[in-house]
């Protein structure tokens, strides 16, 4: 984790910010017909914790995921057809969530950049 990303997490408001964002974000994802099929069979309770992990990571917060974890964690989805278009949709939902929470655009851009940095791992390339 770099200095700037640690600061980003604090600037965004840390854990309470993640809590505020998780329901909004996940509701957008489940309502998005481009990607919701990937979430069809996951248990919602467990998924809530995973969404928190996802957001914490994208917010530059503390996490213990490696690129390898991201590869493994999404490999079954890649097999099911996960591609760039789905990745873009997730990033779009993420940005829309932050906009809804009145996060300033420069911070949204930094979050999008962190998400972007995981693209090849998530898509298994």
């Amino acid at each position: 984790m770099t200095e700037t990303s640690a600061t980003l997490y604090q600037q965004l408001g840390g854990e309470p910010a993640v809590n505020a964002a998780v329901d909004i974000f996940y509701r957008k994802v489940l309502a998005d017909d481009r990607i919701n099929r990937f979430f069809e069979n996951v248990d919602m309770e467990k998924q809530a914790a995973k969404q928190k992990a996802f957001l914490t990571m994208a917010f530059g917060g503390p996490h213990h995921y490696t690129g390898e974890d991201m590869r493994k964690g999404h490999a079954h989805l890649v097999k099911a057809g996960l591609d760039d278009s789905h990745f873009d949709a997730v990033v779009e939902n993420l940005a829309a969530t932050l906009a809804e929470l009145n996060v300033p655009q420069p911070l949204i851009d930094q979050v999008a950049a962190i998400a972007e940095s995981t693209r090849n791992d998530v898509l298994g390339r």
């Binding site: 854990e15 809590n19 919602m44 992990a53 996490h63």
Partner: protein, 328 residues
């Protein structure tokens, strides 16, 4: 210096002043699950067995978890000695005596047990019932806590089901059964008395919901309470007269029996309970939701309730998984 003693699975360790419970456990080579160490991932959740944990250690946990003294070890600087464990303490069984058996409909038995030693529970929780040979199944408590030592269950007979067939056909008044401590997080918590409640149950999923409703009304819940009870056909519904009576008595309680197949009788809606509920109620923002019964119904309704605005924290569910090993 104030050192605190932590008891974990019969082991006693010392928590240094600046340490969290997680630090102390790891220092003593007690390796519990953990990851972020910042209260985010919730993987180090423990339960305090005797005392309430410091509120700061419960940050972000669901209300029912806070209520049962769950806390995050990584956020917990103990204020006093603590006895902690991983998850529910479900090992102990109390002895109960069968005091009542009557049929609610052709397939559903109301079983009443007298259980003087049952630890306290909340309406809507379930227990594990254990037969003398060890066969164990989960059943939800359908009464409220007014008569706490008398437990009622709705047991649906499944063709070829080992426990349910036996309970229907062979279990007799006067027999004894072992009963675990109550478990599960799908129950009524007082507080927020004006909150709107939506309860959806299929089949014997009515059991915990009936308990939750009578507890809520008993506690003076003032917000609207909507119950949708679904069954495949008219023969599968039960307790309609009792529920209608309750609806007449309490203007804030609304009851909608539903059948997905066959003719719908008078005052019964045609369709699947969760679909009818979702289309009748415009928005579930701020609502508390309880879902019990068939796992497919529970899974779909959870999603739909969430998409209609209910918060994760406010969705409580027990899926009646059949054939699953006893849930921990």
């Amino acid at each position: 210096m104030s050192l605190k003693k932590i008891t974990f699975n019969d082991r006693q360790i010392i928590c240094q002043e600046e340490d969290t419970v997680l630090d102390a456990l790891l220092r003593a080579q007690i390796d519990i699950p953990h990851a972020c160490r910042q209260g985010v991932c919730q993987s180090c959740m423990l339960r305090s067995l005797q005392t309430a944990p410091p509120p700061a250690a419960q940050n972000g946990l669901k209300d029912v978890l806070r209520h049962q003294n769950y806390f995050l070890a990584c956020l917990c600087y103990p204020q006093q000695d603590m006895s902690v464990s991983l998850g529910a303490d479900s090992g102990a069984f109390a002895t109960a005596t069968v005091v009542g058996k009557d049929m609610l409909n052709a397939d559903t038995l109301r079983l009443t047990l007298q259980c003087p030693d049952i630890p306290d529970y909340y309406a809507g929780q379930f227990v594990n019932l254990k037969r003398a040979d060890g066969l164990t199944r989960s059943y939800s408590i359908s009464n409220n806590r007014k008569q706490r030592h008398k437990l009622e269950f709705h047991i649906r007979r499944l063709a070829g089901g080992r426990f349910s067939e036996w309970a229907h056909a062979e279990l007799a008044i006067g027999d004894s059964l072992a009963v675990s401590a109550a478990q599960g997080l799908c129950y009524y918590l007082p507080g927020r008395a004006a909150q709107s409640l939506l309860l959806i149950g299929s089949g014997s999923g009515l059991a915990p919901l009936a308990g939750i409703i009578s507890e809520a009304l008993d506690q003076g819940h003032t917000g609207p309470i909507h119950l949708y009870h679904g069954s495949r056909n008219m023969a599968g519904l039960y307790w309609t007269a009792e529920m209608r009576r309750l609806a007449r008595q309490y203007p804030n309680f609304h009851y909608s029996p539903c059948v997905s197949g066959g003719e719908a009788g008078q005052g019964v809606c045609k369709g699947r309970a969760h679909e009818l509920a979702m289309s009748a109620l415009p928005d579930l923002k701020g609502w508390r939701i309880y879902l019990c019964g068939h796992p497919d119904m529970v899974h779909q309704a959870k999603r739909q309730a969430f998409l209609k605005g209910a918060a994760f924290q406010d969705i409580h569910a027990d899926a009646f998984h059949i054939g699953a090993t006893t849930p921990a």
